[in-house]
């Protein structure tokens, strides 16, 4: 059986349950799937490689992943080397020219915003992953707005026939998003200048947005579990610079934060890492949830 015939057989087996959408979108993380949904609606057939409960640094290879990357017209990922452990391998296996770097179908969110924590010098001892800065750019709604503007342009470039639909959806999203940011800004005014401890430098953009003050990070270097010495140093530090909350990320092991919380009496706030897109959550729901959780710590 030739390759074409086997393709034909498989496609004949597929009943017409899903109407073929115009544009296939492959996202590395669910937040970009949620954003694409806002801008493209039913024009897009969206697939997210990871869920909100997965660490996007790591991924187990499944056949469907390669199949989805193969037929994608547009790939949306965070970039900044967040997916460096698997995306290059996946791209090679997919061999899809439309989503190759430099093509219109290759969209990296981190390329469209001002990055935080860009190392001043590239040192091998810092590891080779986050040389272009902190990749968790989706934790600031102002970044979402900037990225939405760029993604809208990209969608129009790929699918010009539906420009009207994308324009309409984008202007509605942008207007509502700015309103939401204003509401959150007012709600979170109370946490401006509040000291926090974080587990992993996952929330740097959120901290920047809300004007929180990060006094310590539990991980000495991103990805390394804190040593006992490092934890007691932080405990010492917190005596002189008391913090209001310890911010944890939902997909991480919570033992170090629970230890510190017990030692210091500072409450832990476990923030969901991203939008539960597969569970039907929207970007708005997720940000509202996060702002509620953080402001809930300050009465």
């Amino acid at each position: 059986m030739s390759l074409q015939t086997s393709f034909l057989c498989i496609s004949l087996l597929l009943p017409c349950v899903q109407v073929q959408a115009a544009i296939n979108v492959f996202t590395c993380e669910p937040e970009w799937a949620a954003l694409a949904k806002e801008l493209g609606g039913d024009q897009l057939d969206i697939y997210s490689a990871t869920t909100a409960l997965q660490d996007p640094h790591h991924i187990q290879a499944r056949p469907s992943l390669i199949a989805k990357a193969r037929k994608a017209d547009l790939l949306i990922c965070a970039g900044a080397e967040l997916e460096t452990g698997w995306l290059p391998l996946l791209m090679r296996k997919a061999g899809n020219a439309r989503i190759r770097a430099g093509q219109a179908g290759h969209f990296l969110a981190a390329e469209h915003i001002d990055m935080l924590e860009v190392p001043e010098k590239l040192d091998r001892s810092l590891g080779d992953v986050h040389a272009s800065g902190n990749p968790h750019v989706h934790t600031d709604p102002r970044n979402i707005s900037r990225i939405a503007g760029q993604l809208y342009k990209r969608l129009v470039g790929i699918d010009p026939d539906n420009t009207d639909i994308y324009s309409k959806r984008y202007s509605i999203f942008e207007r509502e998003w700015q309103d939401a940011i204003n509401v959150w800004n007012n709600q979170a005014a109370a946490v401006n200048g509040v000291n926090v401890v974080v587990h992993h430098d996952y929330w740097s953009y959120l901290i920047d947005w809300l004007g929180l003050v990060k006094v310590a990070t539990l991980e000495p270097v991103p990805g390394v579990a804190p040593s006992t010495g490092h934890l007691s140093q932080i405990k010492q530090l917190l005596n002189t610079q008391p913090a209001t909350m310890i911010i944890d990320t939902s997909y991480m092991n919570d033992r170090p934060v629970q230890w510190l919380s017990k030692q210091t009496g500072i409450p832990v706030v476990a923030l969901p890492a991203t939008v539960d897109y597969q569970g039907g959550e929207s970007l708005y729901d997720w940000f509202k949830h996060i702002v509620d959780l953080i402001t809930g710590q300050v009465e």
């Binding site: 187990q60 056949p63 452990g85 080779d128």
Partner: protein
């Protein structure tokens, strides 16, 4: 059910990788069982990994041929030491293998204590995932495996214990990078275990059938159920062995 992943061009390289691994691991697995050194593959894989980490901390390029040389060299040094230990402390060999495994694993952690992402990156280099394999990579693996297999089949009486360990180190270093530690263990131990008590020829065909069925059904199932391929194949190798043993009682082959 997910029919999308059921694409021959996605599954074929992975299946061929499985066959290449089985080619050396079934015969070497018999010897591993005979010697009672079940966990040696995991220890050797870890020692090869430690070699790459040492090379990396010395500033070598972690890609390409340098890393491969470091991996094979340290695996060979590791098995040379294990072979020495076997002749002196044969009774406690399994305990020594286990100890060398944890020393190699924690040695890597200590060397990379301040370099988490380097470590992550190296782990992915060393522990392959079967779906990511490419034809070019398979060509090298096939050539090395054919050489290992022919030396083992033709010269096993002459090369002695050290010879076996050397061949084993090379075979494991190659296969771990293709399919990962779990599949290496499964390919080495399960088909050989199922052949215990069979005549030599029928045992070998039984092992080959179990291994081949395991990889084929595991890949198809992982596509249909949208699950990670490596883990599904491990289970299907074990299930194939079990079903075949139940269907074909001892010595009816």
């Amino acid at each position: 059910m997910n029919l999308e992943g059921l694409d021959i061009s996605i599954l074929a390289p992975a299946f061929v990788a499985g066959l290449i691994v089985l080619m050396t691991h079934i015969p070497l697995g018999y010897e591993v069982l005979r010697r009672g050194i079940i966990f040696i593959d995991i220890a050797v894989a870890q020692i090869a990994g430690l070699g790459v980490i040492i090379a990396y901390t010395l500033g070598w390029d972690e890609h390409g041929i340098e890393a491969q040389i470091a991996a094979v060299t340290s695996a060979l040094i590791g098995v040379w030491i294990l072979n020495k230990l076997e002749s002196r402390h044969g009774k406690h060999l399994e305990a020594l293998i286990g100890t060398s495994f944890i020393l190699a694993a924690t040695g890597g952690i200590l060397l990379l204590a301040n370099n988490p992402h380097g470590g992550e990156h190296l782990k992915e280099l060393l522990v392959g995932q079967i779906l990511w394999v490419e034809w070019e990579q398979l060509l090298y693996a096939a050539i090395i495996s054919i050489i290992v297999l022919s030396i083992w089949v033709q010269l096993r009486e002459k090369i002695g214990s050290l010879g076996f360990y050397m061949l084993f180190a090379v075979a494991i270093t190659v296969s771990v990078q293709l399919v990962g530690v779990y599949l290496v263990f499964a390919s080495l131990i399960v088909p050989a275990l199922a052949a215990i008590g069979q005549a030599k020829k029928s045992g070998l065909s039984l092992s080959i059938i179990i291994g081949t069925c395991g990889y084929a059904s595991g890949l198809v199932l992982s596509a249909l159920l949208d699950l990670p391929s490596g883990a599904v194949i491990v289970w299907m190798i074990a299930i194939s062995a079990l079903l075949i043993k139940i269907a074909m009682p001892l010595k009816t082959w």
